[in-house]
Amino acid sequence: MKKVLSVIVLLLVCAVTYAGGYRVSLQGQRGLAMGHTGVAYVNSAEIAFFNPGGLVHLESKLSVSVGGFGVFSDVKYQNTEFGTSSQTDSPTGTPLYLYAAYKLSEKSSVALAVYTPYGSTVEYPTDWSGSHLVNSIELSAIFIQPIFSTKLTENVSFGGGPILAIGGVNFNRNLTRSLADTDGNRSNVEVDASGVKGYGFSVGGYAKFSDKWSFGVNYRSRIDIEVEQGEGTATFSNVPNSPLAPTTNGDFDFTATLPLPAEWTVGVTYKPTDKWVLNADVNYAEWDIYNSLDLNFLNADGSVALESINPRNYQNAWTLRLGAEYAVSDKFALRGGAYFDESPVQEGFFSPETPRNDSFGFTGGFSYNVTQKLAIDASFLYLTFREVDASYDAYTESGVEAPFAGTYRSSAFAPGLGLTYKL
């Protein structure tokens, strides 16, 4: 046990998370094991994330779920026209969650939820053929949310709460495909910001039609992570010493906005027997707010020294999820699931920074009740992307489009461990 805990603590140290498209659906062992479903399934404090409306139906006075994942992701790129190839060497991502729910009365509950629904860590070899778009990127956002949940009737309830999001970004790329100093060192910029705050909320509704059927709906609002002047630093290096160069070496303030899109979820839970639970959820993420990643690099007086416009043109995207749970015994439950995740990336905007095409996720896991109060949860996700020929066409040099094209293939594997405690 101690060892397992120490592993979790280790993972906690580097609170960085992975995703393609930068949404990371790893917000609970039990939910993930069932295809990351659960908007209509009241089982543990994970409901605080999946649907605050269902929280009040938790039977225990105190329910706690805590855990984390290790995300091992790989992206491979190649371009057979030019014989170039590359592969990411991304560090392990560690999305985490903590949900603690407390039952005030039969009619109402409160909870605190801490989770990391957005993030991305992609690291290519420095100066690889797409280094003018990205060398490495590390996005992280931690959401902290107090929740109140109450029953309207015995079987209908709702809940919600404000979200404080704390985001960070570290992004490194070369300025162009070829600009370098006299020693051939590629001109580079690294932007770094952390502790950037954003605010939003989530609300959910839950209805139990019978012992077999229940229904849930959840909405999590858009949150903009806005980096203001003074909150981050952009460092330019290896820029040639010339007024003809786009900028000069050194640190600049910058402003940028990274939108974390709103997400709708509706779903049903069906319990055909005492031993079986079946979930079906649908997510709809409003990615179309992510038009362009625009960075303004500022002079000391706040005027814009250089701007970087990076069109993204994301589109809203669906995710279809299925999951099942089977209670082997009082002590042991097995889970499995699968989902189809539609990419928000449109043709011609496939950037190696978020190399995300449509993907299939396969999940599994189990819970083991060590005591009446304490359970250990484990799960895994295997996310597989089809091989795709794609390009990012919006990159320009001297006003001329210079598409970055190639073949991509990605995959991710995320095993997780957690604890569930009920009092």
Partner: protein, 527 residues
């Protein structure tokens, strides 16, 4: 619990580490996507001159060498069985050479801005650290020697450092020659080529061209040891040594590619400064026209009527100016020297005026003005000014008579006249015929670099993100010396050679994305 962790979580973890490696259907890294056809790229050796060495911006420096066309090609060959490719890298990115601590060649050009913000080439500042007495040890896969002509490759002692100060040996070859008496070809063969490229002969005409035709056309002289550095090599001498070189390279069964000689009119060194380079206002033009009126209307028709010059020559020697851009005045050594005659009756001109008129004409659109002439045009010929003043001509009036390219005609080395171009073209055509014939008879790939560069010079070549042209500074193909390519230009060259190799040997080597190669380097760290 421990039991479950061991039996489920650990295998799952192991599965994860395996499953994390996504695979392409046709994976480049597997080495099966590209084929070498009938060629064997395991040991590629490139033989040639500055172009092969990766010379650029008037110097040889590390990043230039890294972007040499042979090095670019070798990276692509590596996708289909190509082996390691070693180059005799210099010591820094400044590019100047030293001999015993004394600098003997300039540092590289970079694109700098002057006090008004106008960009132009300037020498990168810094103390170079490549001393040619520090000989690097081969064998090397790149045996490109800047400055080498066709016959130098088989000349023993061309890399003898003792011969460098006297011009008998080449400082670039002295740096990596295996011994004092080595030949370039011998050192190339020491690398055991399974595949080679040979691009030599450019300097056999180019040094004549860049010197503005100051050298001699040695056609008919079969002894290259008597040639000056700016002379045109006799085409038979070229054919003889080139044939020897090809024979040496193919003797052990190596395959390869022969690259022909591009036109001098494809390089910005000759296409940047227009022959109509003298801007004049109306008043100055009128003053100058008045000064040349007697020459145009009396001297030239008179000489023609005496039969001293032809009517055509009389017409070609007319000097006229107008408001706007004007043709440059030059001293053309292919014209009849009239300086003695016009000092006699009926013209009775003074010696200075006679000297001015001796072989005077204005350039036409058929003449090429070297890049280096730009720095001379419109400046004052100080020696001539001093002479005039010493003869009692008022300084103000003397200054008007001493403007280079206007009142003071440019000397031969500042313009490549159409007649000089004809000498070059004649030799080049014969060299290229030799190269193509030897490629055919030896079943080697033939690379028509001449046509490829013509396309770049006439409209340009589209690539992902732009158009590659031979416009100076902005075109992307040529470095700041106006003669040698940029990394992007070398990448284009590599692609042209790869295409010819694929065609000859049935290989499927991919070209490179030339847009990801740089052009001119910006820096204000200049002298």
């Amino acid at each position: 619990m421990k039991k479950y962790f061991n039996y489920i979580a650990l295998p799952a973890l192991a599965l994860g580490l395996v499953a994390c490696e996504p695979e392409f259907e046709n994976e480049i890294e597997d080495g099966t996507v590209y084929t070498s056809g009938e060629a064997n790229f395991s040991s590629y050796v490139a033989v040639g001159n500055s172009l092969t060495a990766g010379f650029a911006d008037g110097a040889l420096y590390i990043t230039g060498q890294e972007n040499s066309y042979p090095n670019i090609m070798a990276q692509q060959f590596a996708l289909a069985g190509g082996g390691e490719f070693t180059q005799p890298l210099v010591n820094d990115n400044l590019g100047g050479l030293t001999l015993g601590g004394t600098q003997i060649t300039n540092n590289r050009f970079v694109l700098a801005t002057d006090e008004n913000g106008n960009p132009g080439p300037a020498l990168l500042t810094g103390t170079p650290t490549t001393d040619i007495t520090n000989v690097v040890t081969g064998p090397f896969n790149n045996v490109g020697v800047p400055g080498a002509k066709s016959f130098h490759l088989v000349a023993p002692g061309y890399g003898n450092v003792a011969g460098v100060p006297t011009g008998q040996a080449n400082p670039y070859f002295a740096r990596f020659a295996s011994e004092a008496n080595a030949t370039v070809m011998g050192d190339a063969l020491a690398a055991n080529p399974s595949f080679f490229s040979l691009w030599i002969g450019n300097n056999d005409i180019l040094s004549f061209a860049t010197s503005g035709g100051a050298g001699v056309d040695q056609t008919g002289n079969f002894d290259p040891t008597t040639y000056g550095s700016n002379d045109i090599t006799d085409p038979n001498v070229f054919a003889n040594v080139y044939s020897q070189e090809v024979s040496l390279l193919v003797a052990s069964g190596a395959q390869g590619a022969l690259v022909n000689i591009p036109d001098v009119t494809s390089i910005p060194f000759f296409t940047t400064v227009p022959s109509q380079a003298i801007p004049l206002d109306a008043t100055t033009a009128a003053t100058l026209n008045a000064a040349f009126a007697a020459y145009n209307t009396q001297v030239l028709p008179g000489l023609a009527s005496f039969g001293i010059i032809t009517a055509d020559e009389a017409a070609a020697r007319q000097i006229t100016f107008a408001e706007g851009a004007n043709f440059i005045t030059i001293q053309d050594e292919d014209l009849t020297d009239i300086s003695a005659i016009v000092q006699g009756p009926p013209f009775n001109l003074d010696p200075i005026t006679a000297g001015l008129l001796s072989q005077l004409r204005q350039t036409t659109n058929d003449d090429l003005v070297p890049l280096t002439t730009a720095g001379v045009l419109g400046t004052t010929d100080q020696d001539f000014l001093n002479l005039l003043v010493s003869l009692g001509i008022p300084a103000e009036q003397a200054a008007l008579q001493a403007i280079n390219g206007v009142s003071r005609p440019l000397q031969d080395q500042f313009v490549l006249t159409s007649q000089e171009q004809e000498l070059i073209t004649t030799a080049q055509t014969q060299y290229n015929a030799t190269i193509q014939a030897l490629a055919q008879s030896n079943d080697l790939a033939f690379v028509d670099a001449r046509t490829a560069l013509q396309v770049v010079a006439n409209g340009g070549v589209s690539f992902n993100g732009g158009v590659l042209t031979s416009d100076f500074v902005t075109g992307g193909a040529f470095s700041l010396d106006g003669v040698h390519p940029t990394p992007r230009g070398y990448a284009f060259t590599a692609n042209a050679i790869i295409d010819a190799i694929n065609e000859q040997y049935g290989s499927t080597i991919p070209g490179v994305d030339i847009g990801s190669y740089g052009t001119v380097t910006l820096s204000n760290d200049v002298n």
